[in-house]
């Protein structure tokens, strides 16, 4: 069964790629010929999300919240404003809510209906976030999904899943790892992984920094 599935996937992926390549190019050509879009706008958008906006933004937010109690308080009271003060916001980040992970509560974010994700602080979502397995199972079996990521939480930790059904976007603030006392924001930000800000991971420990 598993073997068959893989076979199918390869098959579809391979044939779909060239098909979609052609169809996407066709649309782009039409839109440019008809004057709806300036080709430079397409290049600008691709470059922005490939190079400029990504999880390093979110990591800065988290690191600051670890060292600056006032910022942390503000972040949980008004995520949009606090995050905006670092220069992040806009598209898929107009209404940001920060969620605090603690030893007793672990937060996880999903969009069961499509693929809502806080682009402004995390960039574009990875494939797994948009996949049927993640979208179907996270609300019903979050511990099982965490196990797919190699994460096992204590049995009595409350797990809060946030299904992004509206235009609110969630940023999980992971727990600060032990042994990082006195670290700079820049160094702390290196511990903050993308997955730890979705809730499918935890921040790296100092040992994991190479």
């Amino acid at each position: 069964m598993a073997h068959d599935h893989h076979h199918d996937h390869d098959h579809e992926h391979g044939s779909e790629l060239s098909d979609m390549q052609l169809r996407t190019r066709a649309l782009e050509t039409i839109l440019i010929e008809k004057g709806y879009i300036d080709p430079a706008a397409i290049d600008e958008l691709i470059e922005t999300y490939e190079k400029k906006i990504g999880p390093r933004n979110g990591a800065q937010v988290v690191a600051k919240s670890w060292v600056d109690p006032q910022f942390r308080k503000w972040l949980f009271e008004d995520g949009t404003a606090a995050i905006g003060s670092l220069g992040f916001g806009g598209r898929s980040g107009n209404h940001l809510v920060a969620l605090e992970n603690t030893p007793s509560v672990h937060n996880m974010v999903v969009c069961t209906l499509c693929s809502c994700y806080p682009w402004a602080v995390l960039g574009l979502p990875p494939l797994w976030y948009k996949s049927a397995p993640y979208r179907s199972r996270t609300v019903a079996d979050p511990r099982g999904v965490l196990a797919d990521f190699g994460i096992a939480l204590p049995k009595d930790t409350e797990i809060r899943v946030w299904d992004s059904t509206a235009e609110l976007r969630y940023l999980v603030v992971p727990m600060r790892p032990a042994g990082t006392e006195g670290w700079s924001e820049e160094k702390l930000a290196e511990l903050v992984t993308r997955d730890s800000m979705i809730g499918t991971g935890v921040a790296k420990s100092p040992k994991e920094l190479t």
Binding site: M1, H3, A132, A140
Partner: protein
Amino acid sequence: MNGGQDLGGMHGFGPVEPEPNEPVFHAEWEKRAFALTLAMARPGGWNIDMGRFARENRPAGEYLAMSYYQVWFAALESMMKERDLVAEDEIAAGHSLHTPKKVERVLSPADVLKVLHRGGPTERETNTKPAFKPGDRVRAKTINPPTHTRLPRYVRGRIGEIERVIGCHVFPDTNSLGAGENPQWLYTVRFDGRELWGPQGDPTATVSVDAWEPYLVPA
């Protein structure tokens, strides 16, 4: 399981398109896939509920993209592979490559009509009493087992009325897992269209499902 097979109330599939003068089978291979499935049940040692679970137990996109007998055939293949009756290399070669397993009984042409006539009755003797009687209001439980169940998603959590006590029948939820027939009382439960679908429901329509006692609680 909440899979591609649980279609009640889904949108987006378009109109029903009846085919004029539809043949019983649409291709020669469909006939063979049908007959093989019926003929292998006994030697294969599976029951109807295991067969249904094997059909639905796949990604919804795969289930929905397959034709009807493609689903049957895929389930037949997977059940035979699970039981080491046939291996993938044999299907690829189109010939037997490994020693056959001993099986219970091969269906002979002489037995075909007898077997079809006997069918597979699912009613069982019991000394228990049914918990509900006609007219009782019941709520279908909220359950979401990842394994086979015959309680469709669209009735879960909804309130209906017991219309008929059918008898004590084999329970698919356990039978499909090889965990025993575990017979349970079976009822016809009638639901109002608006109870199921809310304001979008047709006030003149009701829907009845057959539901085993473990699916129901008093409302």
